[in-house]
C-alpha cells in the first residue's frame, strides 16, 4: 500500500477514534435523552453508518432494533473511552511537542512544558532533541496503531448493531410480503384496466356495429328500399370498425408493446430512442435473459422518461444505460436539461414507479432545479 494512502488512513482513523471518544462522553451526558427508543435508534444508526463507512462495508439500511440500539449505549461509552482515550493522549502529546519545541522559552519557568511525560524543557538542547523525538515516536505509534484500533471499534459497533441473519431474514420476508401484495394489487388493477378498456371501448363498438349491420340487412330487403338509409348505416358501421381497431391497438400497446415482442428489449429500446426528439445515446451491456415483465417495465420507463425529456427538460442530449449484475438489471436515464422533474405534476412517472415497485424493484429520480436529471431503476431478474 502506498505510504500516502496509509497516512490518509491513519488520519481518518484518528478522527474516527477522537469522534468515538467524544460520542462516548456525549452518551454519558445525554443518557436520559438517549434512552428514548426513537432517539436511541437514530443515535445507533449514525454510529452504524459511520462504522460501515470506515470499514468500507456496504451501507446498511437504517432502522435497527430498539434493544440493540439501547445495548449500544453502554458499549459505546466503554469502547469510546477505552479506545479513544489513548488516541487522544497520543494526538495531544504530538500537539504538545509541536508547541514546546519552538516555543518552550515563552512559558514561565515553573510552567515550562514537559516532554516524555515528565521531562521539563529548560533549554534548546532538550527542546531540539526530545521534541522531534516525541513527535516521531508518537507519530509512528499513530501511523501503526490507529487504523487497526479504529477498525476494532467499528467492528464492535457493527457487531452490536448489525442485524443477525435471523433478523435480516425476517426483514426480507416482511419486505417481500409487502411487495408481493403490491404485485397482486398492481396485477389486479392492470387486469381491471384492460377489462374496462375492452369492455367499454372495443366490445361496445362491436355491438353497435353489429346492430347497424343487422338493421342494414333488414332494410336492404325492404320494399321500396331506402338506399340512402342503408348506405348511412353501412357508413356508420365502417367508421365504427375503424375506431374499434384504433382502440384495440392502443390497448394492446399498453399491455405489451408489440415492438418488444418483435425485436426484444434491445431492438425496442433502439426504436424508442430513435423516435425521441433529442439525440439519445443508448448503451446496452450484456443482459442475458431478462424476464418479459421486467423488459416491459424497462421499456415503459424509458419511453416515459424520454417523452418527458422531449417535452419538459429542454435537454439537447440524453443517454440510456442498461447493465446487468448477477441478479439485477439497472437502468440509468440521464439528460442535460433543466431538471426539476416533479413527480406530482404528471401521472406518467407515478405509473412507472408503481410498475417498478410491483416487481420488487427500486426507482430513484434525482432532478435538482437546473439539472441534470438522473433516473435510476434497479430491477431484480434472477
Amino acid at each position: 500500500m502506498a505510504s500516502g494512502q496509509r497516512w490518509r488512513q491513519a488520519r481518518r482513523s484518528c478522527t474516527y477514534l477522537l469522534g468515538s471518544l467524544l460520542s462516548g462522553v456525549v452518551t454519558i451526558l445525554a443518557l436520559p435523552l438517549l434512552l428514548v427508543p426513537n432517539l436511541a435508534r437514530r443515535w445507533a444508526d449514525r454510529h452504524r453508518a459511520r462504522a460501515a463507512r470506515l470499514l468500507g462495508a456496504p451501507a446498511v439500511p437504517a432502522g435497527g432494533s430498539t434493544s440493540r440500539s439501547l445495548l449500544w449505549l453502554p458499549v459505546n461509552v466503554v469502547a469510546g473511552v477505552v479506545l479513544g482515550l489513548p488516541a487522544l493522549l497520543c494526538a495531544g502529546n504530538i500537539v504538545v511537542a509541536l508547541i514546546a519545541t519552538p516555543l518552550w522559552w515563552a512559558f514561565r519557568l515553573e510552567d515550562r512544558p514537559r516532554l516524555f511525560v515528565d521531562v521539563p524543557v529548560t533549554g534548546w538542547p532538550t527542546a531540539l532533541t526530545l521534541g522531534p523525538l516525541q513527535i516521531l515516536l508518537l507519530g509512528l505509534l499513530a501511523y501503526l496503531c490507529f487504523p487497526p484500533v479504529a477498525r476494532a471499534h467499528a467492528r464492535i459497533c457493527l457487531l452490536v448493531l448489525s442485524h443477525t441473519a435471523n433478523e435480516q431474514l425476517a426483514e426480507r420476508v416482511a419486505v417481500l410480503t409487502r411487495s408481493r401484495a403490491d404485485v397482486l394489487d398492481a396485477h389486479g388493477a392492470e387486469l381491471r384496466r384492460i377489462e374496462r378498456d375492452l369492455h367499454d371501448g372495443t366490445q361496445a363498438r362491436l355491438v353497435a356495429i353489429a346492430m347497424r349491420l343487422a338493421v342494414a340487412r333488414q332494410a336492404f330487403t325492404d320494399n321500396p328500399r331506402d338506399d340512402e338509409f342503408v348506405a348511412g348505416l353501412l357508413q356508420d358501421a365502417h367508421t365504427g370498425t375503424e375506431e374499434a381497431m384504433a382502440e384495440l391497438r392502443e390497448v394492446i400497446r399498453t399491455v405489451y408493446p408489440p415492438i418488444l415482442a418483435d425485436r426484444g428489449l434491445t431492438g425496442a429500446l433502439t426504436a424508442v430512442t430513435t423516435r425521441c426528439g433529442v439525440p439519445v445515446r443508448l448503451d446496452i451491456g450484456e443482459l442475458e435473459r431478462v424476464p418479459a415483465a421486467v423488459e416491459a417495465v424497462v421499456y415503459f420507463a424509458v419511453a416515459e422518461a424520454l417523452t418527458n425529456v422531449t417535452k419538459h427538460s429542454q435537454a439537447t442530449e440524453a443517454s440510456v444505460r442498461l447493465s446487468r449484475t448477477a441478479d439485477r438489471l439497472s437502468v440509468v436515464i440521464t439528460d442535460n436539461g433543466t431538471g426539476g422533474a416533479d413527480e406530482g405534476r404528471g401521472t406518467g412517472i407515478t405509473g412507472i414507479r408503481g410498475r417498478v415497485l410491483a416487481l420488487d424493484g427500486t426507482i430513484d429520480i434525482n432532478s435538482p432545479a437546473g439539472g441534470p436529471t438522473v433516473i435510476t431503476l434497479e430491477l431484480p431478474c434472477g
Binding site: 391497438r249 394492446i252 408489440p258 423516435r275
Partner: protein, 215 residues
C-alpha cells in the same frame, strides 16, 4: 397486375384476395410464411407484393425481414408491408432498402378500399405509400424546421410524405393543383430542399429530411 401476398391469417388473406380481385388484381400466390413468400416471388415475379409484418414461426418481424430479403434478391421489387401497428423504425428500414416502390400501412387502412387499392397501385408503379401515423410521428419529431410551415403547408407535407401526388393532394384538401404546386414550392424553400422532381424521389427527399431533422 399480379400480386403475391404473405399473410398467415386466413381471414385476412381471403379478405385481401376478395378485395384485390374485385379491383382487377390477379393473385398469383398467397404464402403463409417467409420462405414460401420468397419462393413465390422467385417463381411468379409479381408486379407488387403485400406482406404482413408478423409471420410464422415466431410471429415477430419475419415479414419485414422477408420483405427486405426479397428486395435484395430482386432490386426494385415493390413491397407493401401491412401491420397491426406502425413503428417508425420499420418504415426507416424499408425506405432505405434499395429503390423501387415501397409501402407501409396499418391493416386498418385496408377497410378504406379505394384508398388501399390506390396505395397498392402507387407502390406497384414505384411510388410510396406511408401510413399517416408514421408521417405524423416523423413530423412531430422533426420539431423546429416544421414549425416554420403554415398549418396548410403541414397538411400538404404530410400527404406528400405519405406518397400522394399533386393531383391526389389537391383532391383531398379540396384545393386547386396550382395551389398545391405553390404550397410545395414554399415547403421546399422553407426546409431548404431543392425542388428536383416529383414522385418517389421527392417523397424520399422529404422523408429523409424529416428523419434527419428528428435525430
Amino acid at each position: 397486375m399480379r400480386v403475391v401476398i404473405a399473410e398467415d391469417n386466413v381471414l385476412l388473406s381471403t379478405g385481401l384476395e376478395l378485395l384485390l380481385g374485385r379491383a382487377g388484381f390477379q393473385i398469383a400466390a398467397v404464402a403463409v410464411d417467409a420462405p414460401a413468400f420468397l419462393a413465390a416471388v422467385r417463381e411468379h415475379r409479381p408486379d407488387v407484393t403485400i406482406v404482413d409484418v408478423r409471420l410464422p414461426p415466431s410471429f415477430r418481424d419475419e415479414g419485414i425481414r422477408a420483405a427486405l430479403q426479397a428486395r435484395k434478391e430482386h432490386p426494385g421489387l415493390p413491397v407493401l408491408v401491412l401491420s397491426q401497428y406502425v413503428e417508425q423504425q420499420y418504415a426507416a428500414e424499408l425506405l432505405s432498402s434499395s429503390a423501387g416502390g415501397v409501402g407501409y400501412l396499418l391493416k386498418d387502412r385496408v377497410s378504406r378500399v379505394d384508398e388501399f387499392v390506390d396505395a397498392v397501385r402507387r407502390v406497384a408503379a414505384g411510388g410510396t405509400a406511408m401510413d399517416p401515423e408514421v408521417i405524423a410521428g416523423l413530423v412531430q419529431r422533426a420539431g423546429d424546421p416544421i414549425a416554420a410551415l403554415t398549418p396548410r403547408e403541414r397538411e400538404v407535407l404530410a400527404l406528400m410524405a405519405q406518397g400522394h401526388d399533386n393531383n391526389a393532394i389537391a383532391g383531398q384538401l379540396v384545393i386547386t393543383d396550382n395551389a398545391v404546386h405553390k404550397h410545395i414550392g414554399n415547403i421546399f424553400a422553407k426546409l431548404g430542399l431543392a425542388v428536383t422532381d416529383s414522385g418517389h424521389r421527392r417523397v424520399l427527399a422529404v422523408l429523409a429530411h424529416l428523419n434527419a431533422a428528428g435525430t
